[in-house]
Symmetry: C2
């Protein structure tokens, strides 16, 4: 190969890839209630203040704070309860006299003349008045204006931003939109991710492998990671190690998708073929020939006219770790998100040393054990061909780029995987 073999640290590699991605500009209008995990295609603003009326945060009495000033156990304020605000109804009790109060329930509306709520525990009924439903109460604590009240617009002001464009929607975001009656929203179309397995040795999972053959699993593990990130994986099957066949398949797959993932064989010749195929697809083509990580150094990054292209090592562990590191952020970027949601991780105490090399970011599969004092983690060293090192573990210990290894007893970051 005449091309210069260039390798970057993972953060730089990811930035390089993301810079070459053009987010999808097709939007879909979907029911907000069904939009979990979708990414907003427009900023959304509050059509009205939230809440729209002043609400009590507890069961008690709505009153004028001024009427409670100085109230103590020995010198309580005397208040006249003149009614009750029913849940879900306007608080239309009129103002008649200083010292009046109304019963209000948690979440209920305050009358316009009231500015605080006294908790029921700070009061006592002292006399039942002749008028039906009216009482006299003693109040043993002074209230500050605004106490136990949610003000109009305290959650969101009218015209305030509800959600920015590019937000992957969580359950609470959906709740926030529905609180404003925003029952349909514009989201970015889900990216179609073409996945193409290559290798003369690879057969479909339903086949019985002959000696020397293995079943394709990368198409499915990568597909699962795609789905979790909001992408629509589309398997393009298994292509033999044959350049014309690979060129035909990658061209067709890229034309019909937003992102192309090739899980190559890990041999130098299979890798060379992937590089040639990506270069032949268009401009700019191959961006990078490797990432300074283990597993997965020989990952190839490319982009064609705004669409990301990944050439992953065939080893199943490398393929998954690299796709999580590079492909998942790419899927979020395609959807217009400014970043992927933070990866799930747990800090745990390491039970044994983990050797590494400075200048390389390592990800070591590891088991987690929950103890009374927190989590401990035990690395599972296995060749990166062995998918069961990921099946039998809970996550990946990250050995940072600038560290030569990790020591037993250190607190380390375990990325749940």
């Amino acid at each position: 190969m005449a091309e210069f073999f260039n390798v970057l640290p993972p953060d730089d590699a990811r930035e390089l890839l993301l810079r070459h991605i053009r987010p999808i500009d097709e939007i879909e209008r979907v029911a907000t209630a069904d939009a979990l995990g979708r990414v907003t295609a427009e900023a959304l603003f509050a059509p009205h203040a939230l809440p729209t009326f002043r609400r009590s945060t507890m069961d008690g009495y709505a009153l004028r704070a001024a009427d409670s000033h100085g109230a103590t156990d020995s010198l309580p304020a005397l208040l006249r309860v003149v009614g009750e605000v029913a849940m879900g109804r306007a608080a239309d009790v009129p103002f008649r006299q200083p010292g009046q109060a109304v019963i209000v329930h948690t979440g209920g509306m305050l009358p316009d003349w009231a500015d605080a709520v006294a908790p029921v525990e700070h009061t006592q009924i002292v006399a039942t008045v002749a008028e039906p439903g009216e009482n006299e109460i003693e109040l043993y604590r002074a209230c500050a204006a605004g106490q136990n009240v949610i003000q109009i617009g305290e959650d969101v002001a009218q015209n305030g931003e509800v959600l920015p464009q590019g937000t992957p929607l969580r359950p609470q975001d959906i709740g926030g939109l529905l609180a404003f009656g925003i029952t349909a929203i514009a989201v970015t179309r889900r990216p179609r991710i073409a996945i193409l397995a290559t290798g003369d040795e690879v057969v479909p999972p339903e086949a019985t492998p002959e000696p020397g053959q293995i079943r394709d699993i990368n198409s499915y593990t990568i597909g699962g990671l795609c789905r979790r990130a909001g992408g629509l994986p589309q398997s393009w099957g298994i292509i033999a190690d044959d350049l014309p066949a690979l060129l035909a398949a990658t061209g067709a797959a890229l034309a019909q998708s937003d992102m192309l993932v090739i899980t190559a064989g890990s041999s130098v010749s299979a890798r060379d073929m992937t590089v040639q195929a990506i270069a032949a697809l268009g401009r700019p083509g191959v961006l990078l020939h490797g990432v300074a990580t283990r597993p997965g150094k020989p990952t190839i990054l490319g982009a064609i006219d705004g669409k990301p292209v990944l050439g992953l090592p065939g080893n199943p562990v490398s393929a998954m770790v690299q796709f999580d590191m590079l492909g998942v952020p790419a899927i979020y970027r395609l959807q217009g998100a400014t970043s992927r949601p933070p990866r799930s991780r747990i800090w745990a105490t390491l039970t044994q040393n983990v050797p590494s090399e400075s200048g390389r970011e390592d990800y070591v599969p590891a088991r987690l054990t929950e103890t009374a004092a927190g989590y401990t983690t035990t690395p599972v060293f296995g060749k990166s061909n062995l998918i069961f090192t990921l099946v039998q573990t809970d996550g990946l210990i990250k050995v940072p780029l600038n560290k030569g290894g990790l020591l037993a007893g250190e607190t380390v970051e375990v990325i749940l995987f």
Copy 2:
């Protein structure tokens, strides 16, 4: 209310609830490739060893380690390359003489007489032999038996456990099953979670609230959390604060589902009504009247004949935090999982003090900021009625049960939410 008002710490409350759950015993047979997030209903065992043949981990020469003994730069071993193992083919090169080697690619099969692979970088071709495709090479490093070889069964031995019963399937688990050609599996039926909103003040999201009314959002935030855990949320609409109506609705909803969630009003009277409705559903009925947490103390736990029942506070923040803490583990238990997957969390440096009370577990919404030195987190104090404290934050700072608060500068656990 005559009943004793009992409160437990969150871990004890969860254990109490889980103890009363009978996992669903209906199984479904699904395509393994489509089973992401489903829970295995049976233990799965390896029908054959994995890998089924000895494989090379690199590009190089398969040889007998004994023939390389003592090889150094100054005294290389001389080997005769007698062929090449093509990818995906049986390594049927016969043994003819000591010192022979064959070209093998990463992932390729080793001939039965070879027991190690010498990396191509440790060799040099010294002579091209008359026989087509045969060479003589010098090898500059001795190989140990087994070097750069994956042994038969090194990933999983025949009849070894592939996955235990009760495993929520991740992408790598699906890959592990497909590696054995297990293309269909038995999973537990997805639990149907009936969600019932109550409150005279609650209207559907599509309605325009009158003064004193609010839109239902809890049905949708809880629905989203259900879906993430593998449950099928079913909204049973909004029931007024009226005991006969509530009894009718809860009875019908529980009969047609595996779990019942009532998001009640937060007033004492609404809460009492929820307790009465749960008690009327059957045995054992109400298990607990409160959980020692903030937000969410007045959560009611119940169980009816193996089905969990939750009475959540109506405040949207409390409802979500409590459902994540109690409802999500219940959904996993219904599916036969021994535990929920660990919650995603990040350790971050706290930017300001967080007050709390010993004997109570607090969850404070917080923003995360990524810095060169790691994450920092800033609590967002807001009343638990305000859904936007969860919309505008990244997670929840957990203040442990036995701590009176957290101090600025401490490293704290933030649960991604």
